[in-house]
Amino acid sequence: MTSSIMDKETVAPEQSWLRRHSELWLCLFLLALGVLVLTDAISMPADFTQRGPVGPKAVPVLVGSLLILISLLLARDVLRGGKGEAEAGEDIDLDTPAEWRTVLGLSAAFLVNAALIGVVGFPISSAIMFWGASYALGSRHLVRDPLIAALVSVITWVIFTQLLGLTLPGGPLMGVL
């Protein structure tokens, strides 16, 4: 127990100050969001046909101002040593450092789907996403992974379009079936 505390103390100075206070980026984001909401509200045409005494500006002005206020309060809290408690969960191990490569891989899989879905259709595009995502998360079965990906997306496509009456683009492949 004592040794782990010692470890932390010796390790801590190596991390830059900003890294330990990375929550300040969140404050900056909230501040920027507040400014954005405020400028958008103020730039609304004033003589807009407004029904009632309170127009469409009031609430955005309020929300924008509160965002700026809360960003400052949060920054104060962080500088005083407050820390947001990262969310725990069933499959989450907070003792390990964040695996950014996994996060980026998962994001890439998702965005590839967004880029491809209109071109090659839902079944192929989603199968690629499923495979990509499970690969990013560490699955390395060269036969089983793509097979499951293909099955899941084709079955989902059939259920959604044939049984539930929704439209998902089939793409060139499904035109053949």
């Binding site: 969140l26 929300v63 947001g84 969960g89 996060v103 899989a109 967004a114 880029a115 879905i117 929704l166």
Partner: protein, 497 residues
């Protein structure tokens, strides 16, 4: 009584073979998705929303009732067998449920949970039948100023009563309110935060917000910290209870709703507080107090029944006031809005058939839950062994299906991703997700009601507080906000919080 005959009509709707099939499908899907580790009821409901797009409102909501109860029960299964509650309502269940399972009493724990759900849900739903029409008829007279007061109360309660840090709760709420502002202002048609984009002027669909914050945000967050060591799920047999178990569980089952139902109906965050209260109560009343912490069956029976009854209580305020008090209720309210139905006092008169069909299907869903889930428990417990890469790839997959099926636009997928990244950042820095969801869903309504109230009073701010109800609600808000100060004053001890 009038509501009894309406309820009978409701059963007429719910018990047609087609609707019965939808209810059964809902229970199955809800349990299957809810059992999966990492998926709580709110995410289960959000992910399954698109399944109901093609259905009629009645069929959709009947299916929803099944998904709701199934998802809640699935969550407690995960708690008991994996010791890893998927959501706040099931946290308490894990305290006694998992030790029971580890001592080889997994089947008894699951049966206690299932029957507890049934009993709590049954009593809670009966209370809903008796109370909701009265609340609705009382609520018909409340004015715009009262509504805006209640919604402000919901905002404040959800940020200050729950969670560990108020600042972070408010930050989350404001993010939600900002997302809710995007689109055309309902009263004037003025576009706000759309930046000239035609796509944004429709506003961001509530399904995309919910799925983004819950499913995509969660997947990205898990990806960053995926547990490499496997947590072992305890295998479960067919659930059953011995007579000696029954003797210890029937009282906790019956006490649960007394605590759960009222807490569910008020905006204090659903099942978290009442399940804990129920646990403490059962511990105090139990003759086997020494067993607590090592798998006392009362500690499963009470909280499970409480959680289920609180879900029914949640529906009272959701259906009669349009006020969601939990994340699941917020997502369900979003689903109502998808169909152009606005829950509120008028719902009972305008959509009578639909509401009573829904309530009747809550009963049907409960029975199906018991009939389907007790024998199928061994199957559900197998779902816990799904390889994590497939699980989270699947969550991402269904999230994108849901977002894309809303309107078939690629831009929706991009929006979903952006909101998912926001959800990721929120988890990283301890911003609770619930205030954001409540902000998105209630924000626009709160604004309309406030402006309507001010329109009536011709701009006089007193128009917001000129009714006894509004004044009362604002007093409660003031107490909630000042609570840390009040507590400090009473304790007279310096607190470094």
């Amino acid at each position: 009584m009038d509501s009894i005959s309406l309820l009978l009509d409701g059963f007429g709707t719910a018990l047609t073979p087609v609707n019965l099939a939808f209810a059964a499908l809902g229970v199955l899907l809800g349990t299957a998705i809810g059992v999966l580790p990492g998926i709580g009821p709110a995410m289960a409901v959000a992910l399954l929303l698109p399944v109901t797009y093609g259905l009629s409102p009645t069929a959709a909501f009947i299916m929803f009732a099944g998904i709701y109860y199934g998802g809640m029960f699935g969550g407690s299964t995960t708690s008991i067998l994996l010791n890893t509650p998927g959501e706040s309502a099931a946290v308490v269940t894990a305290i006694e449920g998992n030790p029971m399972a580890r001592k080889g009493r997994a089947s008894q724990a699951l049966a206690t949970a299932a029957i507890g759900h049934f009993v709590g849900g049954l009593i809670g739903t009966v209370a809903l039948v008796l109370l909701a029409p009265t609340v609705a008829s009382l609520a018909v007279d409340i004015g715009a100023q009262d509504y805006s007061a209640i919604m402000v109360l919901a905002f404040i309660a959800v940020t200050s009563v729950l969670g560990k840090s108020r600042v972070r709760g408010f930050a989350s709420l404001l993010i939600g309110l900002t997302i809710g502002l995007i689109g055309l202002d309902e009263m004037t048609g003025q576009s706000r935060l759309t930046f000239g984009s035609l796509h944004l002027s429709d506003g961001i669909d509530i399904v995309i917000v919910a799925v983004g914050l819950f499913a995509v945000g969660e997947s990205l967050w898990v990806a960053a910290h995926l547990r490499q060591s496997k947590s072992e799920a305890i295998p479960a047999g067919r659930p059953w209870l011995a007579r000696s178990d029954l003797r210890r569980t029937w009282k906790p089952w019956l006490r649960g709703p007394v605590i759960g139902f009222p807490f569910g109906a008020i905006p204090a965050g659903g099942a978290e507080i009442p399940t804990f209260l129920s646990y403490v109560t059962e511990k105090r009343l139990s003759k086997h107090r020494d067993e607590f912490g090592n798998g006392a069956i009362e500690g499963v029976a009470g909280p499970e029944s409480t959680a289920s009854a609180s879900a029914a209580g949640t529906l009272v305020s959701m259906l009669t006031l349009g006020l969601p008090t939990t994340a699941v209720a917020a997502v369900m309210l979003g689903a109502f809005q998808q169909y152009g139905i606005q829950p509120g006092p008028l719902l009972f008169s305008r959509e009578s058939a639909l509401v009573w069909g829904l309530i009747a299907s809550l009963f049907v869903g409960l029975v199906l839950l018991l009939v389907i889930n007790l024998p199928m428990a061994p199957v559900w417990s197998k779902l816990l062994r799904i390889p994590r890469p497939y699980l989270y790839a699947g969550i991402l997959f269904f999230a994108s299906v849901g977002a894309y099926a809303v309107s078939g636009e690629v831009l929706d997928l991009i929006t979903l991703f952006v909101i998912g990244v926001i959800g990721f950042v929120m988890r990283r820095y301890g911003l609770p997700v619930l205030p954001a969801i409540i902000g998105v869903i209630l924000g626009p309504g709160a604004e309309q009601q406030m402006r309507r109230a001010l329109q009536i009073s011709d701009g006089n701010l007193a128009g917001l507080v000129n009714s006894p109800m509004a004044v009362t609600v604002y007093v409660i808000i003031a107490v909630l906000l000042a609570w840390p100060l009040i507590r400090k004053a009473f304790r007279r001890t310096p607190e470094h919080v």
